[in-house]
Each structure stands twice: as C-alpha cells, then as structure tokens.
C-alpha cells in the first residue's frame, strides 16, 4: 500500500482564497487600534492617525491587487485533469477581494469624512 493521497498546499490554498477578507481584517484591526490608542493618548498622537489609515489603505489595496494577479498560479491544481476546485477557489478569491475592497474603502471613507477623535455630540 502506498502513502494515502494528501492535499498538498492546503494552507496556501486556504490563505490565498481568504486573502481578501484577511487583508480587510488586518486593515480594520490596525485602523481601529491605532485610532483608539491615539485618541486615548491624546495630543501629539492624533496627528498620525489619518496618515496611517491612508497608508494602510494603499497597502491593503496593493496587496489585494497582488493576490488578484497571482491567484491563478497560487491556486493551480495538483492534477491538471481536475480543474474544478481551482476554478472554484479562484472565483471565491476574486469575489472576496471585491467585497473586501469595498469594506476597506468604506472604512477609509469614514476617516476622510470625520474628525479623528471627539464624540461629536
């Protein structure tokens, strides 16, 4: 008996497929964290918040673009005869990227339109 068949590159496939939403999560966590800490620390820190957010957004968008470009090769099938899974994972990757980009941009829009700290009431 030979070694049982294994899924190669399970982690890479999973991470690639989920990359959009993972980037969103990282962006969201970073942006909220930085803003929260800066507003608590007060003067001297608040000025950095918006530049950091914009930078993070640019970075996130760039990463998303990279994944979109590379998805085909990262998700290439083990067995060229069975393309189903790869096609499916590619579709998932791309649609998730679109939704996540919307999420990232919506977050950034908040930063564009609103003051950094203050309860506004």
């Amino acid at each position: 008996m030979s070694e049982p068949a294994r899924d190669t590159r399970f982690l890479r496939r999973t991470l690639t497929s989920l990359s959009g939403i993972l980037i969103w999560a990282a962006h969201f966590g970073l942006v909220y964290g930085v803003q929260h800490v800066a507003c608590r620390e007060g003067a001297g820190w608040t000025g950095f918040v918006k530049p950091v957010i914009y930078l993070a957004t640019v970075l996130a968008a760039a990463l998303m673009g990279l994944v979109a470009a590379k998805a085909r090769s990262w998700l290439a099938p083990d067995d060229p005869g069975a393309p189903d899974v790869s096609i499916f994972l590619r579709a998932v990757t791309h649609i998730l990227l679109v939704l996540s980009l919307f999420g990232v941009l919506a977050t950034t829009a908040s930063a564009v339109l609103l003051p950094t700290c203050g309860a506004l009431r």
Binding site: A82, D84, L114
Partner: protein
C-alpha cells in the same frame, strides 16, 4: 452509471453485520447511544423544548405589557423573565438547534457513517441538556439572573446583584459555550475530513459550507465571551477589579468582549439557517442553486465581516465618532452578502421550469425571505449612527432583532422540520396542519413585531416592566400581544402535528421532495449502505440510479472491514480517500462525564466547593476512561474499501483527524488568548495610571527568563520523549518519565511566573493591572493543568503497553498542546514583562 466500485452481489449477512454494529442501544441503555441521528434528535428536541419554554415566558411578558400600568407579574420576576427569555433563546435554543441540525444532517449529507468524534458530540449534548435544564429551572425558584441577557456590569457585580442568580448565568452559560465549542470542533473536522470520496470543496452542499463557517465563527467568537464570563465571575467571587472603574477597570470592557461575541452570534445563528434555505430552494425549483460560488463567498464574507461590527451595539457609549464610523462602515459591508443570497434564491426560483409548489417547507422559506428582508433593511437603518442613537435600546431594536432572528432562523428551522422529517421519521408531517401553522406564525409574527418599530420610536424603551399610559403606545402593545398569541397558536399547531405524525423510525418514503443531495439516499442506522463516489453538486439528480446503487452496496465501504464502527476520512480540499477512522460505539463514560461536569459547574455556582471538586474528579476520570478505550489496539492493517482503493486504519501526523481537531483547539485557545491580550491593552488605554503604578511591581528579569526557559525545556523534553517510545508490543520506563518530566517542567514554569509576581508584592485585587497579570498566568495554567492530566494518561498508556512508536496519537496530541502552550506562554511573558517598559509615560 459507471461500473460498481464494489463487487455485487454483496455477501450474505453483510448488512446484518452493519445493523448489528450500528444498532441503537435499547431500553435503559438508550442514553449510551452515540449515533448522530439519535444524538441529533435529542439535541434538536431539547433545543425545541427550550424554544417553547422561553416562548411561554415571552407570552407572559407580552400579557403583562398588553395594557399600560398592569401588575400581572412583579417587577423583579419580569426582570428575571426577560433575562431568561433572551438567554434561553440565544444560548439554549438558537445555537444548539443549529448545531443539532449539523450533527443530525451533516453525516447524512456527506454520506458518512457518523461524525468523526461521536462520543464528543454526545458528551456536548448531554452536558447541554443537563446544564441547560438546571439553568432554566432557576426561574421557578427566584434564582434566575436579572441582568438582561447581555449582563452588563456593574449591574451584574456583587454590589448590585448579590446572591447566586448572576452566577447561574455566568457559570451555566460559560459551560454551555464550552459544550458548543466541542460541537464546533466536531463539525469542522467532520465537514473537512469525512466527506465522501470525490466531493471536493466546490461540490460540498451549501449547508456544509454554512456549518463550516458557523463552526469557524464559534471558534473565534465564543472564546471572547468565555473570557468575559471568566472575568466577571472572578470579579464577583474574588474581587479582581476588571470592571470597577475606581480600581482601573472599565464596564465597557465587558461590552467590547461580549459584543465581539454577540454580534457574530447573530450570524452564527443565521448562516446555518441560510444554508438550509439554500438547500430547500433548489429542491423547490428542481434547479441547481444559481450563483453557488457567490453564495459560498457570501457565507465566508459574512463570517468575517460580522467580527467588525461589535461596536455597532455601543454607538451610544460616547466613544469617538470616527470609531463609530468604522463600525458603521463594516455594518454596511456585511449587508452585501445577504443581498447576494437573496438574489441567488430569487434567481433559483426564477430558473425553475415548473410551477413552484407552495408546500409547507417552501412557504416557510418564503416567509423567511419576507421577514428577514424587513429585518435586514431595519438593520441597515440601525447601522446609521444618528438613527441608532434614537433607536438603540428601544422597541425598534426589539422588533429589528426578532425580525432578524425569527425570520432568519426560526422560519428556516420550521421549513427544515417539514423538509427533513422524512429522513428520520416514518411519515411526513401534515401539509394541512403545516399550512395552518405557517399562516398563524407568519401573520402573528408580523402583527406582534411590526408595531414595535413604531412604539419604539414613540418612546418605548426595551426591558421595561411597565409603561405609563401617557406614552401613547398602549394600542401598539395590545396589538403586539395579540400577535404573540397567534404565534403561540401556530407553534401549538406544529406541536399537535408533531404529536400526531412524528414517529422516529427507519424512515418512510425516500426523497419525497425530489431533492438532489445525499441525505435523501436510502438510510438506516448505519447511514447509507455504501458510501457513494460524488462527482457533482446534486448527485441524485445527475445520477438517478445512485440510490439503488448505494443501497445495493455497490459503492465504497459496503462492509465493516475492521468489525466495528468506521467511516472514510478524505482529504480536506479534494476529498481523496485517506484512511479509515475507527469510531467508538455506545458507552456510559461520556454520559457520566457530561452529567458530572454539569454538576461540578452548578455546584460551584452555589459555592459548594468540595462536592464540586469531587464531581470534577469523577468527570475527569470518566473522560480518561472513555479516551482510554478509544484506541482499538493493533489494527487490521490496510483494508480495501472498493474501487481498487486500499486504506490504512491508523494514522498519525497531519493527515489524522485527531491532529486536525488539535489544530482547531489551537485556534480556540488562540482566540481566548487574543481576547485576553486585547483586554490587557484595552484596560491600559483606559487606565494608564494603574499600569504606571504597576511598573514598580515588575519582578526581576530572572523570573520571566527562568519561567520561559522552563517552559521551553518542557517542550524540548516532550519532543524528545517521542524518541524514547518503545517498539510496538513493548513497554519501557524512560518514555513515561520523560513525558512526566516535561509536564513537571511546564508546571514549574507557570508556577515561577505566578510566584515571581507574588513575591514582588503585586496583588490581583489591588488594581486592574494586577488582575490582568494574574489572569494571563491563569490562562496558561489551565492549559498546563490539561497537559499534566494528558501526560499522566500517556505515561500510563506506555506502561500498559498501549502507546508505542507506531500508535502514539495520544502523545502527539499532548505534545501539540504543549507546543501551543509554550508559544502562548512566551508571548504572554513578553507582553506582561515587556509592555510596561515600552508603554508611554514616565516611570
């Protein structure tokens, strides 16, 4: 149809052997059963009983509110009632009902003989049944909590809620959450590893996808609330000030942790239900789901986005406007996946080539679309910050929440009852009664909850025991109450239907709705006679001969090659067969473990410590006995499953399902730890002065270094102990000693960490800083305790000759847990001993 994978005709007596192996225990031994159908039905039945019980509470509350200034129930009882109603619906009904459906339906949809850890799910179910029942009964003896189902401190601190009431919530619910996590581990490993050969991820039924995301969300969300309940219980019992503002705590920490769980919770409940709808709609239309990929994406995106919404519940707490906006934005993002699903269902209906038959399942699905749509739209409304400021904590939210939860979950659940009963019951439920039930519930629901939108904006806050006539909301409330009774009548009709028509049995007519998925294959206690090779999303539509072929035993694994319970484990993405997993059969150990675990928690609640510890010992003993018996001993060697495939029956390492379960456990423990790190840093931002004061209590560098080295040493010794394992059939003393040494080193490491802080004069009750430092140590200490028990277990197995170089899964799992613990401990050391040095502010 292609050639049979297994030779036919099958040998005489083969099916009888399967029936014998998978037989359900009879009579008084019924509680020992572990078959997913039995356990699933118990699970679902218990959840439904809780639904009815909590519904009766709601009826009493609605009666109290029917007219202004009534005094039907006392203020105090009313406060307990809405707490128990919310808690029961969320924790004892909604999540368990969805997990129950996973346990009940997933193996059938995947044509697996059972889930990979049948006793674990049985354990989870029994623990839930016992714990949940006791929790619910507290309402009858004035011991129920009265803090609202989200239990905000400081109202729930000892000072404002003396007595054991709040502890029943904290320990009871914390315990049921742990049981939910056990179920989720089962579901994740089950969906990923026990699919039939050929069912690659793109062919996994949507319900399987939904349950996968559901379980994944539980992994991340529940640890947050478990940590929160730990904090609150510790503060109540020992006075560690996590939430007391004067000592550097913050009531809002609870809200952050609770809603980090609480908002995903809504989607945790909704996603499986949406998955069910995605199964029923194609059947109604007799067409594949339009936009399968989009729906999968929608499920995944919902799963993630829903973790970015928690502050959505805290818009009125006065946090900066920009923070609110971030969460408002995420709330918008999460609306899109629901839109995708809606249009996909509409498209699937539209794609049908025949007239849609409005049978009961379809009616309930349409009811769901109608109601959940309104819930979703009001959801967008409350995601708008200024509107939220008005609507928050009013009956508008009560209406919105019920539109989402009842529309999103209860209607699909009823659809499910009518749709899937044929696979467990002898006959279908009555269409006539089903229609009555649907229309009563549907109309009643809208009558009850629609007016609440208006009464809320007219000034009716939620959780009020009474309201003055001058508010002008009396008529709306009266209408709501009438609607509530209509819903009750509808549920009553359903119960009558159940009593008249529901008979658990071998199953009657196969596939009465003409569905295309595997759960409608002919079934018996062993699930399907043989396990089909799957090559499309709707195998029953694409291969009409499949049911016959499966029932004839032509597919994979028509026999029981190891002579016991087993199923095929396949690879996670492509579902290539990998090995045969042997599974335990009926037994008392998991039942005893569950009952005594529940008893331990409940006794702790009423502060009867010694008997509680005895119960804990019995429970641990039962678990060890149970685990001891799982390994069936030297295997039958590679066995053939048909189709020319030969598989091993015992594996270790990354392809084994045990290894996967341990990875899932890593995620759970990691989530808990991240929630802790968040809490630590959060309280620092709230009370930096306490952290500054804490600096002078930092132990000398030697303490953390020593502790870290001890823990690393533990991991290294554990790694080496594998080499010391004896050859099969032999036993030695070195390996047990090495394993125990590793556990002792780990114990020494964590002790050094705690002792270092203690000798430096830091006390957990003095400030939130001290409390957080010791809590970090506790989180590691509980893992070390588990490792110690597991190490003892491994050592005993080596001595008994049951653990060797080949069969070393128990040691593998112990090592994996220790590696994780070491990593977590090192990060914690860096955080606890390093962060105070780098944070802002002069020493």
């Amino acid at each position: 149809m292609s050639e049979p994978l297994s030779p036919v005709p099958r040998p005489e007596g083969e099916e009888d052997e399967l029936l014998r192996i998978w037989a359900t225990p009879k009579g008084w031994r019924l509680p020992t059963a572990v078959n997913n159908t039995v356990i699933g039905l118990l699970y679902l039945g218990a959840a439904f009983v809780f639904f009815v019980a909590a519904g009766i509470l709601a009826l009493i509350m609605r009666t109290q509110l029917a007219l202004p200034e009534q005094e039907l129930v006392s203020q105090d009882l009313y406060n307990q009632m809405f707490t128990v109603h919310g808690t029961t619906m969320m924790f004892l009904f909604a999540v368990p009902a969805m997990e129950a459906l996973g346990v009940l339906l997933l193996p059938q949809m995947l044509a697996a003989r059972d889930l990979p850890f049948p006793r674990l799910s049985a354990f989870a179910v029994w623990a839930y049944v016992v714990g949940g029942t006791v929790f619910f009964l507290t309402i009858f003896i004035d011991l129920a909590p009265a803090g609202g189902w989200f239990m905000y401190p400081p109202l729930t601190l000892m000072e404002y809620q003396p007595g054991d009431n709040a502890d029943f919530w904290l320990l009871g619910i914390g315990f049921i959450e742990i049981s939910a996590i056990a179920g989720a581990i089962e579901i994740i490993v089950g969906v990923l590893r026990t699919r039939p050969p050929g069912m690659s991820l793109d062919k996994l039924p949507i319900f399987g996808w939904a349950m996968l995301i559901f379980a994944g969300m539980i992994m991340v969300a529940f640890p947050a609330v478990i940590l929160a309940t730990m904090l609150l219980e510790i503060e109540r019992a020992f006075g560690w000030p996590f939430f007391t503002a004067e000592l550097g705590g913050d009531p809002l920490l609870w809200q952050h942790l609770f809603w980090f769980f609480g908002h995903p919770e809504v989607y945790i409940i909704f996603l499986p239900a949406a998955g069910l709808v995605s199964m029923i709609v194609p059947t109604a239309a007799r067409k594949p789901l339009v936009g399968f990929n989009l729906i999968v994406v929608a499920l995944i995106a919902t799963g993630f986005f829903s973790f970015g919404l928690w502050v959505h519940h805290m818009f009125t707490t006065g946090i900066p406007g920009l923070s609110l906006a971030f969460f408002s934005a995420a709330s918008m993002a999460v609306a899109i996946p629901s839109g995708i699903q809606f249009f996909s269902w509409i498209a699937t209906f539209a794609a049908s080539e025949r007239k849609i038959e409005f049978n009961t399942p379809t009616l309930f699905v349409l009811g769901m679309l109608f109601i959940f749509l309104i819930g979703g739209l009001t959801g967008v409304m409350v995601a708008m910050v200024p509107f939220n400021w008005q609507a928050h904590d009013t009956y508008f939210i009560v209406a919105h929440m019920h539109y989402v939860m009842i529309g999103g979950m209860v209607f699909p659940l009823f659809a499910t009852f009518y749709y899937w009963v044929p696979i467990v019951g002898k006959r279908r439920l009555s269409e006539r009664l089903g229609r009555w039930s649907f229309w009563l519930i549907f109309i009643g629901f809208n009558v009850a909850f629609f007016p609440m939108h208006i009464s809320g904006l007219m000034g009716m806050p939620r959780r009020v025991w009474t309201y003055p006539a001058e508010l002008g909301v009396g008529p709306f409330n009266l209408v709501s109450t009438i609607g509530a009774y209509m819903i009750a009548a509808g549920v009553l009709v359903f119960i009558i239907d159940l009593v008249r028509n529901f008979r658990v049995g071998e199953g009657g007519q196969d596939n009465p709705f003409g569905a295309g998925t595997l759960e409608f294959l002919p079934q018996d206690v062993y699930s399907t006679r043989s396990i089909p090779h799957v090559s499309s999303r709707y195998p029953l539509w694409d291969d009409p001969d499949l049911p016959r072929s499966v029932a004839a035993g032509e597919q994979y694994l028509p026999d029981a090659p190891t002579g016991g319970r087993e199923t095929i484990v396949t690879s996670a993405i492509h579902a290539k067969p990998q090995y045969i997993v042997q599974m335990p059969g009926p037994g008392w150990t998991h039942v005893i473990a569950a009952v005594f675990t529940a008893a331990c928690f409940l006794l702790l609640t009423v502060k009867i410590v010694v008997p509680a510890m005895l119960c804990a010992l019995v429970a641990v003993g039962a678990v060890l006995t149970w685990v001891w018996s799982i390994d069936k001993g030297p295997d039958a060697g590679p066995v053939s499953i048909g189709g020319g495939i030969t598989l091993p029956v015992y594996v270790t390492g990354p392809i084994s399902h045990g290894w996967w379960a341990m990875m899932v456990l890593w995620v759970v423990a990691g989530s808990l730890f991240i929630a802790f790190v968040f809490s630590y840093l959060y309280l620092w931002t709230v009370s930096p002065e306490v952290w500054l004061a804490g600096r002078e209590f930092l132990p000398q560098l030697g303490w953390p270094l020593g502790a870290g080295v001890l823990m690393l040493g533990a991991a290294a010794v554990m790694r080496l102990s594998r080499r010391a394992l004896p050859s099969p059939g032999e036993r030695n003393l070195l390996a047990p000693l090495a394993v125990l040494a590793a556990a002792s080193l780990a114990g020494a490491g964590i002790t050094a960490e705690i002792y270092g802080h203690w000798t430096s004069g830091l006390r957990p009750t003095a400030s939130s800083y001290g409390a957080m430092v010791y809590l970090g140590a506790i989180l590691t200490a509980q893992l070390v305790l588990a490792i110690a028990i597991m190490s003892g277990f491994c050592a005993a197995r080596v001595l008994a000759g049951k653990l060797d170089r080949v069969r070393w899964a128990s040691l593998e799992n112990t090592s994996l847990l220790l590696y994780y613990t070491t990593a977590q401990f090192l990060i914690a050391l860096i955080l606890i001993h390093g962060f105070p040095h780098v944070m802002g502010g002069a020493p």
